[in-house]
Symmetry: C2
């Protein structure tokens, strides 16, 4: 630790730390020293008394933890929050979301992304993996607001070769942008909207350019059954055949992963495969299963937390995903001892960082890691008394208890005040645009949902 | 509407109202006029411009809705929040909670109740049904903090006749207390801890004194199976035989209600039977079922929302119970069109009020009803834009979005500031008492869990 002025010192808090095996623990009455966007030291609070910093946050009564990572979302879809309620998957896509998305303009995407980033920063999210359209705009919003993001331009085979080429061009042009806060992926939509040839071409491009791939697959059991009926293969087997299990691959959802057929396939994957789970939407759509977290865990496949888009999830509240992942996993496994609060925090930190390909740079508050962290206030009556910090964080605290959000050492929210985004201005302009965005009288869809 | 000074006017908000059939709707740009603890009028915002009030709240951008009702909790157990994590039901009771509860003092209960009321007021809860020990103390806290409550002194048959007599004495002495905000119930713990003779005696006392009864029954499938093995009857059949289905009865949980045997029994109940559901705990314990809300609905049995105690639920967040009830019901029924946001709000308002025996006095914002209501701020990025107010309230808003809580016309919290409780003082004293409360070295339990 050098004695010159640090960029940021946070003192007096408990710090969520990971031990040598990556397991979650807490260091009481500590301080975090940040310099050059990186955590320089995690020390006893007393040890920083002689230091100086450009910004000093007294965080007594709070917990510093790695910022949450939203491992799969469609950020701009916050514009559609609440517009397609209580519908089965097919009607949700074909009757509401895909007709509306045929109206999308770059400005809608920009305002949606800004609103989404504001929501995520306020909810303690420091990084998100986005999979959508007009992603140049999303990249610009990320640069502007200070978040970290893993971005991919979505494509369907119905767009012809052009869709895939645009996805590649986006991934190459933006990787390393926003001072390195942006990483990129190729983003085919899903095996039911992108054909085998395009999936194989995507795998080739990923290998050729050292890019990762982010897609939806085996979202639900119906998709697995339809894939078996159509191709004689599950969606996971389709990915394997395309060569996608040999590259760095982020699979969204996987609630339709077949235990007998797919787990052996995933076990022999040579690429770094990860899965993102957003359990709220699975409940809301009434899907019969959820992501098989325990089985994936046994294979060493990281499972990151996610919200999906707000048109299905109604929020980008990763904190809720953390609690729900624990609750739903206990329920489906019939085992209250499984997916403990500490395990949930492991998914929220180390596993989510690995899922978005940032396992070496974020997900822990430790020397040398990028300084992506949040401060959580536990003084509210709903989080007192504290018998077990992990349980308090996962099961009693809420997104609104995050008081401060830091990315790359920069404070994006302090004491609940956003520093880089103007919510009332965003909402005002977005509201003016909603009538045109929501118009479905044209009868068009950007795509047809037919698994 | 009289022209003299009102006690409270809330203006400029949308108001959640119920139509003639009790269905949920919204009245935009309205005002609520309160006088003498009662809603005098719900009118257009313009119509109050000439009036005066002792307190006037400008609620533009907010929604006024009936205060949430926690239909089954053990408020003082907030002291044990997080102390018994990731355990099966039996270990939770026998190894942790019942040993600790053998240390309980009146002061622990008092501080726990105060902390619980602070949490509930901040979370938009205006009324709670409590089922615990040392309830004189809880009644005193209710009187002090201004909430409404339906209280019962819990008893086991292991206490002999004295337990039941104390429960009766409590119910008679406190009914109508705190200016009518306290109503009471007889509170046998459950059919597995209270024998048939005591249950029958309870039913007799309820009839004799015009009291309602609040108990746990068919909490999970194991209890139903154990009851069948031991008595040849399900817990619901045990209640019927005891005469308890002929009185006003509030059943907590009912996830073990047997569709074939119990639904016909409940259908022929002559008393006003209601069920309270707290789905978070069922997930956390890994129970195989949940409250059969759809089947109960078909029988006309109200299902109120609840949290249970914070030792299992980790919070008293009824807002979360509202969202989870919708999500879990969609999931278990495999039907995304069921338990819509409006239905969830119906459970939260009209059905919860009926469940705690207050169906004629609270649960709606309407002339003549007690003025128990909350103001919810929808200006946050996570609740914008609003396409469907019901969906925004249930699926996007959170307990922390409640800015103002009013009970009987009295403002208990305004702009997140509590007016009747001092959280830091409560927490300070409670923390000093925790070592003695948590001591389990004595090897005692207040009761044995053996369904």
């Amino acid at each position: 630790m050098t004695s010159s002025r640090a960029d940021l010192i946070i003192s007096g808090c408990a710090v969520l730390v990971h031990d040598g095996r990556g397991e979650v623990g807490f260091r009481e009455d500590s301080a975090v020293v940040v310099r050059g966007g990186v955590v320089e030291a995690v020390v006893d609070a007393d040890d920083v008394s002689g230091l100086a910093a450009v910004e000093w946050i007294d965080a007594r009564g709070q917990v510093a933890m790695p910022g949450l990572i939203n491992c799969h979302t469609h950020a701009p879809m916050v514009a559609l929050r609440g517009v397609a309620e209580d519908l089965p998957t097919e009607a949700w896509f074909n009757d509401v979301v895909w007709p509306i998305e045929s109206n999308l303009t770059g400005r809608d995407v920009e305002l949606g992304a800004r609103l989404a980033c504001a929501e995520m920063i306020r909810g303690g999210v420091t990084c998100f993996a986005d999979h959508y359209f007009a992603m140049d705009t999303v990249a610009a919003v990320v640069a502007e607001c200070g978040m970290r993001a893993h971005l991919g331009e979505a494509f369907f085979s119905s767009q012809g070769a052009e869709g895939r080429e645009r996805s590649l061009e986006f991934a190459l042009r933006h990787r390393g942008a926003a001072d390195g806060r942006i990483t990129t992926a190729l983003a085919p939509h899903a095996p039911y909207t992108v054909d085998a040839a395009d999936l194989a071409a995507t795998a080739d491009l990923a290998r050729e350019h050292g890019l990762s791939v982010h897609l939806h697959a085996a979202e639900n059991r119906d998709q697995t059954d339809a894939s078996l009926a159509r191709h004689g293969r599950t969606p996971i087997e389709v990915l394997e055949r395309a060569g996608l299990l040999g590259v760095e691959l982020l699979i969204a959802h996987g609630t339709g992963i077949d235990a007998d057929r797919d787990l052996p396939v995933l076990a022999r994957a040579s690429g770094r495969v990860a899965v993102a789970t957003s359990p709220r939407g699975y409940l809301k759509f009434g899907w019969p299963g959820t992501t098989p977290v325990r089985a994936l865990n046994a294979l060493g496949i990281p499972v990151g937390l996610a919200t999906d888009g707000a048109a299905s999830n109604n929020s980008l509240d990763v904190w809720e995903s953390m609690a729900l992942t624990s609750l739903v996993q206990k329920s489906v496994e019939g085992d209250p001892r499984w997916l403990t609060a500490r395990q949930a925090l492991h998914h929220a930190t180390v596993q989510s960082a690995r899922a978005v390909g940032l396992g070496d740079s974020v997900g822990r508050i430790a020397p040398g890691r990028r300084a992506d962290l949040v401060l959580v206030d536990l003084s509210g009556p709903h989080t007192q008394p504290v018998h077990d910090l992990a349980a308090t964080l996962v099961h009693s605290a809420r997104a609104a208890d995050v008081r401060t959000t830091v990315v790359d050492g920069r404070v994006l929210m302090h004491d609940r005040e956003l520093r880089t985004l103007d919510v009332p201005a965003i909402v005002r302009e977005l509201e003016e645009r909603l009538p045109a965005l929501l118009d479905r009288s044209h009868g068009r869809r950007i795509q047809e949902y037919d698994t």
